[in-house]
């Protein structure tokens, strides 16, 4: 192997970008989370775990639990809606498949804020949903600016991120496994439970984790759809920085979320390398 260069020159630009835009800010946040703040909101350079202790205050713990609960519900709802969609897309052939995939990806070509305002106009107090409800004589539903607004926004926005990994793990599955199971006596549901599910469960779990964790740190959706009353972890974090001027505490929250995300990445890596080892064993066995 040649080792004249550590990295190709084009990669240096990316590396510098990575250092300046990600590594440095992250280090600052990490460092700041161990500092204190004065009454006036300026930063006091003394090392302490005070901010992390503060996260266990009931005030923050309640926000954390509420956020985790809402993100969990939203993730499960994404699964409930997304799994059948992914399953259908993986099985169907021909024009319906292309159409389904296009429909799945169209939202990505639309600006995020516009999509959120789409939800506002659907679920607002004079939105399309309520107009329909009053047209049939039902009372108005107040969804926008409640936790339900946040929930709807989360599910809507994160759904494709869960459909895609499930779809791709189903696609990777040998189609003959289904036939083999039926051939050996498994009815449709048995085939699903005993063959399909065990082979895609990692994909489903990782996909769910990658939806769940960013949901925890979500700021824009709760801010725009949840109204002022709903305390959401991501929102609380931003408030620490820009309203309450408690940068160290905000940093501690940010660090905690990052650690969770890194944990998920590590888990995914471990599974990926486990499967790779599997592949190596095949080639050596053959």
């Amino acid at each position: 192997m040649k080792q004249t260069q550590i990295l190709p020159s084009s990669a240096w630009a990316f590396l510098i970008w990575l250092i300046v835009m990600t590594l440095v800010p992250f280090s600052i946040i990490l460092g700041m989370s161990f500092l204190e703040r004065t009454e006036l909101g300026t930063i006091l350079f003394s090392f302490s775990f005070k901010n992390y202790q503060q996260l266990f205050d009931w005030v923050y713990l309640k926000v954390l639990l509420k956020t985790v609960w809402l993100a969990l519900m939203a993730t499960l709802s994404c699964l409930a809606v997304g799994f059948p969609v992914a399953y259908y897309l993986a099985r169907v052939q021909g024009p319906m498949k292309s159409l389904g995939l296009i429909l799945l990806f169209i939202p990505f070509w639309t600006n995020f804020i516009l999509r959120i305002y789409g939800i506002v106009s659907l679920f607002g107090s004079n939105g399309i949903l309520n107009q329909l409800l009053s047209a049939v004589g039902l009372p108005k539903a107040s969804i926008l600016y409640t936790r339900w607004g946040v929930y709807v926004g989360l599910v809507y926005n994160y759904l494709p991120f869960l459909v895609v990994p499930i779809y791709s793990s189903l696609e990777k599955l040998d189609p003959f496994l289904r036939e083999a199971a039926a051939d050996l006596g498994a009815a449709r549901f048995q085939t699903f439970r005993k063959v399909i599910l065990p082979n895609i469960k990692e994909g489903v779990f990782i996909g769910s984790l990658f939806v769940f964790i960013p949901m925890l740190g979500e700021y824009v959706i709760p801010d725009l759809l949840g109204g002022a009353k709903e305390a959401f972890l991501g929102k609380v974090m931003v408030e620490q920085f820009f309203i309450l001027q408690d940068w160290p505490l905000g940093s501690a929250i940010a660090t905690m979320l990052s650690v969770l995300l890194l944990g998920a990445l590590w888990l995914q890596n471990r599974w990926a390398s486990k499967n790779q080892n599997g592949a190596k064993e095949v080639s050596s066995a053959v």
């Binding site: 003959f176 036939e179 199971a181 051939d183 050996l184 006596g185």
Partner: protein, 360 residues
């Protein structure tokens, strides 16, 4: 009869399976042979229940199974790419059909062990499917398909993914296992040698049509179709026209062709005037000088020769055609050495020629 196909047809895309009638006996090793795209795999999938016939009936042990889904048929398959369950060990793969039947675990253990022993992979039972070789995967797939004692075992080109040496070994074993377990085997293959070696009977397919069903010997020696003759083994073909009437005693008649006039024998079936003579290379003798005692003689020159160890293959040019003949090593060493361009004579007996209508 174990399995009966009654006028089964299947149309899809541009493919059409012509009405197929087929009967397979209990304990038989039956092969569906033909080039790719001939419909043999479709027939297998119809029997397995993965496709539904357009018309016709499939009868297994007297029961109409035409519309029965695969999981309700007591027919198991060894898939071409094995289709082992990657999340299960070798043992659990084999135990799969038994667990579905909710058998007591003691019985499952003993039957899986027995099945693994049959295919000689007892020591691999705890391996994951990605930790075994192609040949071992093949054996696992076989054990899994046999463990629940199906009425019929379907094998979809099971040996095609193996390297030649392993393929030969597995062929022997397949035959032994079939006889040992007493289960009816239905093999799909495009490898004529494999079909000849393994089968009790063979059905030859071409373009969605079953051309001939018979024992390997019958298919090889008495093909009813020139495609069958050409597909099984190598052939020399002479196109010609029948002359006069067959002699009442011997059935012999004359044939004129671009490479000479010959004496042939009609075997009963009515033939058109335009016929095709099929000569197997091993039924043609190579002579260095003209002989008058031979029934049919053709003169030509050596175009090419290939040394194959136990025998030598010669390509002999006669007129515009090239004929293929073999000479055993023992024979060759006794005689004059032949070089390209040498004049030689090919002799054959009228009994050894296969006479067929010319295919269009």
């Amino acid at each position: 009869m174990l399995l009966n196909l009654e006028a089964v047809t299947k149309n899809f895309g541009g493919f059409q399976l012509h009405p197929l009638n087929l009967s397979i006996d209990r304990g038989e090793f039956f092969s569906l042979l033909g080039p790719s795209g001939c419909g043999k795999t479709t027939v297998l999938r119809l029997i397995g229940g993965f496709e539904t016939p357009t018309s016709g009936r499939i009868i297994l042990k007297g029961q109409d199974i035409t519309r029965l889904p695969p999981h309700k048929r007591n027919i198991h398959t060894v898939f071409q790419r094995y289709a082992l369950f990657p999340h299960l060990s070798v043992f659990e793969n084999v135990a799969f059909p038994l667990r579905l039947q909710k058998l007591p675990s003691a019985e499952i253990n003993s039957r899986v062990a027995e099945s693994l022993k049959l295919v000689e992979i007892e020591d691999l039972k705890d391996r994951r499917t990605h930790q075994i070789s192609g040949g071992q995967a093949q054996r696992t797939a076989l054990a899994r398909a046999l463990v629940a004692k199906p009425d019929l075992l379907l094998l979809d080109e099971p040996l095609s993914a193996l390297d030649p040496e392993l393929r030969m070994k597995m062929r022997e074993e397949l035959k032994t296992i079939c006889k040992k377990v007493g289960i009816t085997f239905l093999l799909v293959t495009h490898d004529q040698e494999e079909a000849l070696q393994l089968s009790d009977r063979i059905a030859v397919f071409k373009a969605g049509q079953c051309l001939q069903v018979g024992t390997p010997k019958a298919i090889y020696e008495d093909p009813t179709d020139s495609f069958v003759a050409r597909f099984i083994g190598s052939v020399n073909e002479i196109l010609g026209e029948l002359q006069g009437e067959p002699s009442p005693e011997t059935g012999e008649m004359a044939l004129s062709s671009s490479v000479g006039t010959f004496k042939i024998k009609k075997n009963g079936q009515p033939l058109p005037r335009q016929v095709s003579i099929i000569l197997r290379p091993e039924k043609v003798r190579l002579l260095r000088s003209k002989s008058t005692t031979q029934e049919n003689l053709m003169e030509g020159e050596i175009q090419d020769q290939t040394y194959l160890g136990s025998r030598t293959e010669y390509a002999v040019k006669i007129g515009n055609s090239t004929f293929k003949v073999f000479e055993q090593e023992l024979e060759r060493l006794k005689k004059r050495r032949l070089n390209t361009g040498d004049r030689v004579f090919l002799a054959w007996r009228s009994d050894d020629a296969i006479v067929l209508p010319q295919s269009v």
